[in-house]
């Protein structure tokens, strides 16, 4: 059986350069298949790099349950060193002390028809069958997104609350992993858009939705996973 096929999508917030995008994604092709998205917090420094580190670690270690993710976090934190300039302005020193923060959503799809997901924060997993949304997780209501989510900190000693879920997939099912602004918009509008639109068309829709303020102007990232038929 073929492993899932993927399509990825990202766009920095309007007015920002692509290099300033603090959303990240990673994919582990083959079986078990894995994909992850992470969203670096606007209000912490080095959060884009932290988000990239988290998705890469997830796709390497595949911690598919909350307990497994909690267990890995100390190791992931210890292995991360931000690229710090030699002369630190006072405000960067404070931000470095506070650490970087990001939301993380990871999905593992097994060839036996099962899947598992873990999440910290407000990135969203959509499970689609045909042209229908089966489930959205961990948030299924576009009004429940806010600006103060619980995130994974690079310096925090404590364990963030990790949520976990699992289910079965059918041939032809699709999953969309989306960071918060995109996830909220898809839930409120049409969750099947990422399946139906080519990447450049989706980018045009996102830009237009931002202009009419239906989609918050934030970095967006998504991984679309097509399960084999």
């Amino acid at each position: 059986m073929h492993a899932p096929l993927v399509r990825t999508f990202w766009l920095p917030r309007d007015g920002n350069a692509p290099t300033a995008c603090e959303d990240a994604f990673a994919v582990r092709p083959g079986w078990p298949f894995a994909a992850a998205v992470a969203d670096g917090a606007t209000e912490s420094a080095f959060s884009g790099a932290w988000a990239r580190h988290l998705v890469q670690c997830f796709c390497r270690d595949l911690p598919a349950t909350p307990a497994a993710l909690q267990q890995r976090l100390a190791q992931w934190r210890a292995a991360w060193q931000p690229d710090v300039p030699a002369a630190l302005p006072w405000y960067v020193a404070v931000k470095l002390e506070e650490g970087a923060h990001a939301a993380l959503l990871g999905l593992v799809v097994q060839p036996d028809g099962t899947w598992q997901a873990v999440a910290v924060g407000d990135a969203v997993l959509l499970h689609l069958r045909g042209n229908r949304l089966l489930a959205a997780w961990p948030i299924d209501d576009p009004d429940r997104f806010h600006h103060r989510p619980t995130l994974i900190g690079s310096r925090d000693d404590g364990a963030p609350p990790v949520e976990g879920t699992e289910g079965r997939w059918m041939p032809g099912d699709a999953f969309v992993l989306a960071t918060d602004a995109l996830g909220a918009w898809l839930l409120g509008d049409d969750p099947t858009l990422p399946l139906r639109l080519a990447t450049d068309e989706l980018a045009r829709h996102v830009t237009a939705a931002r202009r009419r303020r239906a989609l918050r102007n934030d970095d967006v990232a998504a991984v679309v996973v097509h399960c084999p038929r």
Binding site: G15, P82, N217
Partner: protein, 287 residues
């Protein structure tokens, strides 16, 4: 919806501080742990408050590669004179006499070392040395020309609005012991608040530093919650209602808010007021 304009580098907003530097600010602050002569002066507390507000604003905008100019800042002192205490360099004159926040971040008067309590990871706290930037020192002389200060603020706000008609409206934070000596500040406050962008009227928040030892009050919704103090009542009446977006942020932080909640604090820490301005995702673990 009003007060929903994005605050970003391409769409910044203005924050203007009005600092009471009158002679009465030499009197002891009633909200301190120490009492009587041991209490710090209101002028000392004011300097601390404004330095911490600026530090917090800057940290909210700071990234690894510098400070993003989400805010343009002005500071007016009123006491012996009514004057802007920071002046923009020539290249920033387009901002209407306000200074981009990155400019302030790079130029504190000095960096002091202070002790800060930080969690030790075992449920307790340890003291850690941290650098504390200082832009303003205590200053207290002559009367309290608050009306003139509000008038100057209004003219600076109008210039900003002419240049940024679609932005989140300017925010004016007046820090005072409340006793205007040049007229009725309520009228000037109403005039200042009437200047508006497409997104809403100018917001005026008041921070009352009093010698009274009555309990602190944060974000009251009615005069009944205030101490019996004529200046507290006046400053409450001068203050804007918290807009919806800020009310929602306040609620998330555990404040009790209603439709009538105003941006006013009495002998309390006003840093929350600038935290309620939304500029992007903020980790729930950060205060």
């Amino acid at each position: 919806m009003a007060y929903s304009a994005e605050i970003s580098r391409t769409s910044p907003t203005a924050i203007l501080f009005l600092l009471d530097q009158s002679a009465s600010m030499q009197e002891p602050f009633g909200g301190a742990e120490q009492r009587g002569d041991a209490a710090p002066s209101k002028a000392r507390v004011l300097a601390d408050v404004v330095n911490r507000l600026l530090q917090n604003l800057i940290l909210r905008c700071a990234k690894e590669d510098g400070v993003r100019d989400y805010f343009y800042v002005g500071v007016i002192g009123y006491g012996e004179r009514v004057q802007p205490l920071i002046r923009p360099a020539e290249e920033y004159r387009v901002a209407g006499d306000l200074v981009p926040i990155s400019h302030l971040a790079e130029r504190p008067l000095r960096l002091e070392e202070r002790l800060k309590k930080v969690p030790d990871g075992k449920g307790g706290f340890v003291e850690q040395r941290v650098k504390f930037p200082v832009w303003f020192d205590p200053h207290a002389k002559n009367g309290t020309p608050m009306c003139q200060a509000l008038d100057l603020a209004a003219s600076m706000v109008r210039t900003w609005i002419d240049l940024h008609p679609h932005s989140f409206p300017p925010i004016v934070i007046n820090i005072t012991d409340g006793e205007a000596t040049d007229g009725d500040p309520l009228r000037y406050a109403q005039q200042l608040r009437s200047f508006a962008t497409d997104d809403g009227e100018t917001l005026l928040f008041n921070v009352h530093l009093s010698s009274s030892e009555e309990p602190a009050v944060e974000l009251p919704s009615s005069v009944d919650e205030l101490p019996r103090d004529e200046y507290a009542v006046l400053l409450f009446q001068m203050s804007s209602l918290l807009p919806f977006t800020m009310r929602a942020a306040a609620e998330q932080e555990g404040y009790r808010v209603t439709m009538d909640t105003r941006g006013f604090v009495f002998n309390a820490d006003p840093v929350a007021l600038v935290r309620f301005l939304e500029i992007g995702t903020r980790p729930s673990t950060l205060r």
